[in-house]
């Protein structure tokens, strides 16, 4: 059956503590194809490819290359078979030159390197694939697109037959993406094979021969490009199953409380991540913001909360301009933020429970009196919070880093809801939580809405978005692709918007 198959991955299962990243996934490659791997974040794409490139060992299942079972002990073994991966986060030494990076770990490099020979080889490969590089340039001088070119060159010079690109276009401008596609097509013309990980439907349709869709760690189908369309792919990508149940009453939302007006902002790399966001939130509604991660959602939350500089545009709260306020002033105005990365931003994992509970109120009465912390009050508050939210803490003096994700999230929610905020912005509030903790987090958000707060729910999990949102906005490449009433929205429409396809009938804001 392996006839003509270049790679066959059979029944791959890979577990990480608390999560099954791949569950019985089958995947195959035929020589000379560009095979797209499509799925939402967390669907298991990167894990599957890390197994193929020898970085992870599968817990179960097998990998064979050209009909021979392959057991990889390290990426070196995969490289020997001609499998190379270009990671989303580049593995380059910034202080070294392009050439030094390429020769790093290159098999057969003698102790004293013949620089001229290698340089010639680099230039030859670069010309062959139409990729402009300067071998003498330092990595830190290069743009992200150029760095990616170096990574690809690195793979090509190692005679890679199977090139895996993990979300290569996420960091590229549209023009750079076109150049990349040209390179990939040339690669294919030579009979070599590429795997292209993406969540962008139009790109997948443009470049691939076959498409495999992963959803929640499972294979949701492998199809030829000419037998599918974007709608079909979107449906497969987001799925239809339901596990969670949260009761939500019908409720009329109130007046506008928060408004983004043509907001522009850069991401950490200095690339524009928000390209003119206009959005308004009403009292007593949950506005879901759907979209694949990395399309500006994180930046949107940070801009609202004063953690990121807004280049142009304004944010107003109760008709008052709050653009450029610092987080403390924004919180004092009545806005609360539940950050996506609980451990990295929302908590201080080496400090204990009370220290974390007071993080956003330590400076005011009654948590502190004058210059001193009010330990009596803090103790009572801690006790009450642990009871009210049913948090399993163990020893109070232990660092909170030891608590489970669900308990940490309860701690954050308890802290953020303590002052009855008027606006809550929650980023992936149930990521990494089990079913019980997830339901609890969603229930608490709905309670805030019922109390009259406006809630912005940023989530990649469409299940979550559909379950508790009153309106749904979809972000794609730093823009709002469309805003739908939850009643009118379905998975297909949202899936298309998430993949960057505009709907015919866009609902008005």
């Amino acid at each position: 059956m392996a006839g003509g198959k270049l790679v066959e991955m059979t029944d791959i299962t890979k577990r990480f503590p608390g999560v099954v990243a791949n569950s019985c996934v089958c995947f195959d490659l035929v020589p000379g194809e560009i095979h797209a791997l499509l799925g939402e974040n967390g669907a298991g794409k990167s894990t599957l490819m890390s197994i193929l490139s020898g970085e992870y060992k599968p817990d179960e299942g097998s990998v064979s290359v050209e009909g021979v079972e392959a057991r990889f002990h390290s990426p070196q073994d995969a490289i020997k078979l001609g499998i190379g991966m270009v990671h989303q986060h580049f593995m380059l030494v910034r202080a070294h030159t392009v050439m030094e990076n390429i020769m790093l770990g290159l098999a057969g490099t003698p102790f004293f390197m013949d620089r001229k020979k290698l340089e010639a080889k680099i230039m030859e490969t670069a010309v062959q694939y139409d990729m402009k590089v300067d071998p003498g340039a330092y990595i830190w001088q290069l743009s992200v697109g150029e760095q990616q070119r170096v990574e690809i060159l690195k793979a090509l010079i190692r005679n890679t037959r199977i090139l895996i690109l993990d979300e290569p276009t996420a960091v590229l401008t549209p023009k750079e993406s076109e150049t990349l596609f040209t390179t990939l097509r040339r690669f294919r013309e030579e009979g070599r094979t590429a795997i292209f990980i993406s969540h962008k439907l139009d790109e997948v349709m443009a470049i691939s021969d076959r498409i495999t869709i992963l959803r929640s760690g499972k294979n949701a189908g492998t199809i030829r490009r000419d037998e599918t369309d974007e709608k079909d792919l979107a449906g497969r990508m987001v799925g239809k199953d339901s596990l969670f149940e949260v009761k939500k009453s019908e409720k009329q939302s109130g007046g506008e409380i928060l408004k983004f007006n043509d907001v522009h902002a850069n991401n950490d790399r200095g690339i524009e991540a928000l390209k003119g966001i206009t959005l308004s939130l009403r009292e007593g509604e949950i506005l879901g913001i759907a979209g694949v991660a990395g399309n500006g959602q994180k930046e949107l939350a940070e801009c609202l909360f004063g953690l990121r500089k807004i280049k142009t545009g304004t944010v107003s709260f109760n008709n008052k301009d709050i653009t450029g306020f610092n987080p403390r002033k924004i919180r004092e105005a009545g806005i609360s933020y539940i950050p996506e990365d609980r451990i990295a931003t929302g908590l201080v994992s080496s400090l204990d429970f009370p220290d974390n509970l007071i993080l956003n109120s330590y400076f005011k009465l009654p948590v502190s009196k004058g210059p001193f912390l009010n330990f009596k009050y803090i103790k009572e508050w801690t006790k009450k919070t642990i009871e009210d939210y049913d948090i399993k803490v163990g020893k109070i003096k232990n660092p909170v880093g030891l608590l489970s994700g669900g308990n940490l999230q309860k701690l954050i929610l308890a802290r953020e809801f303590a002052d009855n905020p008027k606006v809550v912005i929650a980023a992936s509030p149930s990521r990494g939580l089990d079913i019980g903790a997830t339901n609890n987090a969603r229930k608490l958000l709905v309670e805030q809405r019922d109390r009259g707060a406006g809630v912005i729910l940023i989530s990649e999990d469409l299940e979550e978005i559909f379950q508790i949102s009153d309106r749904i906005a979809v972000m794609y490449e730093g823009k709002i692709m469309g805003i739908l009433d939850a009643k009118d929205a379905d998975r297909e429409k949202i899936g298309l918007l998430m993949g960057g396809i505009k709907l015919g009938q866009e609902a008005d804001i």
Binding site: G42, H73, L351, L359, P371
Partner: protein, 365 residues
């Protein structure tokens, strides 16, 4: 049998105590090899050192005198380290503190010792604080690496002292010795009872208590603990990072500056060249060994005071070079830093190891 290093799921309650002790023991063992190589009996040498440092009233007094500037500087650097600010400028901050205290003592003859010493104290704290604050400002607003700026400011302070004692502040009656005139008696720190230990240690112990209160009981101390442990969470909470960097560096420098006042007013009673044999640098090790806890700084400073005194004893009785105690200091720091790994990892002997799935991947999944 395989030896593997695994991440700890839960911190061991013993580690904070065990790690410094094991580090000390390892440093002593390695140093014993060096003694042996130098032709000395390590057991005899350690005994000499111990007796020299703690074996008599006189020895204990000498140790406490040396521990005093180490407590003050150790508290200072520990404060900065707590916020991940690597202030290695305590030496320079000590020197400017000494200069400021001397300036008060030499120019204003107060009849009241309390006023005189009080003003010397304030001047030293202010000078040391400013000396620490300058790198803090550069760090907060320009992102300059404080390791380099604090280190460079040490040289400025030390050479400024040399300039003063060779030049404008030189004792006119002191022939060619590079030092200022003796302070008026009112500017001397009194001795405690009839020992040779001066009042500086009382100042140091009071400041230990104040530091502890500041760090564990106040709002500002809370900010420092949060900022040092998680910069992002501090920003999320709305803490002002620049302000805290500058304030902590001021506080850190002020404590070292007070050490300078305590040395000049307590021991030399004048400003002179080489007034510190590197207390500001030794304080870095003191602070690490104490794991930055104010109370533990006292213990670790006394230990290092003893090491300095014991090293002198070794020189006298066994004619070993005084640098032996420097070697030992270095080894202790080396092992203390190495021991940090035990806080987040445990060493497992035997059992399964090898190709475990990378736990870091949990986040992507």
């Amino acid at each position: 049998m395989k030896i593997s290093i695994e991440k700890r799921v839960e911190p061991s309650p013993l580690t904070p105590y065990l790690s410094p002790l094991v580090s000390l023991a390892l440093a002593l063992i390695v140093c014993a090899v060096i003694f042996k190589a130098a032709g000395a009996n390590p057991f005899k040498a350690y005994r000499e050192m111990f007796m020299g440092a703690f074996g008599s009233d006189f020895a204990i007094e000498a140790t406490l005198i040396k521990a005093t500037p180490l407590i003050l500087c150790g508290l200072g650097v520990a404060a900065a380290f707590r916020m991940q600010l690597w202030n290695i400028g305590a030496e320079g901050q000590l020197y400017v503190g000494a200069i400021a205290a001397s300036w008060v003592a030499l120019n204003y003859g107060f009849n009241q010792p309390l006023i005189s010493l009080g003003l010397m104290f304030l001047a030293a704290a202010l000078a040391g604080g400013i000396w620490g604050m300058i790198p803090g400002i550069l760090k907060a607003f320009r992102g300059s690496n404080e390791v380099i700026t604090t280190l460079m400011m040490n040289y400025i302070a030390i050479f400024l002292t040399s300039y003063l004692v060779y030049g404008p502040w030189k004792d006119p009656t002191g022939y060619s010795v590079p030092m200022t005139a003796l302070f008026n008696r009112n500017s001397w720190l009194p001795k405690i009872f009839d020992t040779s230990v001066h009042g500086g240690i009382i100042i140091a112990l009071i400041l230990v208590v104040l530091s502890w209160i500041l760090f564990y009981k106040t709002r500002w101390g809370y900010e420092i603990r949060v900022s040092g442990a998680n910069e992002k969470a501090a920003a999320y909470s709305g803490m002002n990072a620049a302000k805290n960097i500058i304030l902590v560096m001021f506080f850190s420098g002020a404590l070292a500056g007070i050490a300078g006042m305590s040395e000049t007013a307590g021991i030399q009673h004048r400003l002179q060249q080489g007034l510190s044999p590197g207390y500001g640098y030794t304080a870095i090790i003191v602070a690490w060994l104490a794991r930055l806890h104010p109370a533990a700084v006292v213990v670790s400073a006394i230990l290092f005071g003893g090491l300095l005194v014991g090293g002198d004893q070794l020189q006298i009785s066994m004619s070993m070079p005084v640098s032996v105690s420097n070697i030992l200091q270095g080894l202790i720091l080396f092992f203390v830093l190495g021991g940090e790994i035990l806080f987040s990892y445990k060493i497992k002997i035997g059992g399964k190891s090898g190709h475990q799935p990378c736990p870091a991947a949990k986040e992507n999944a």
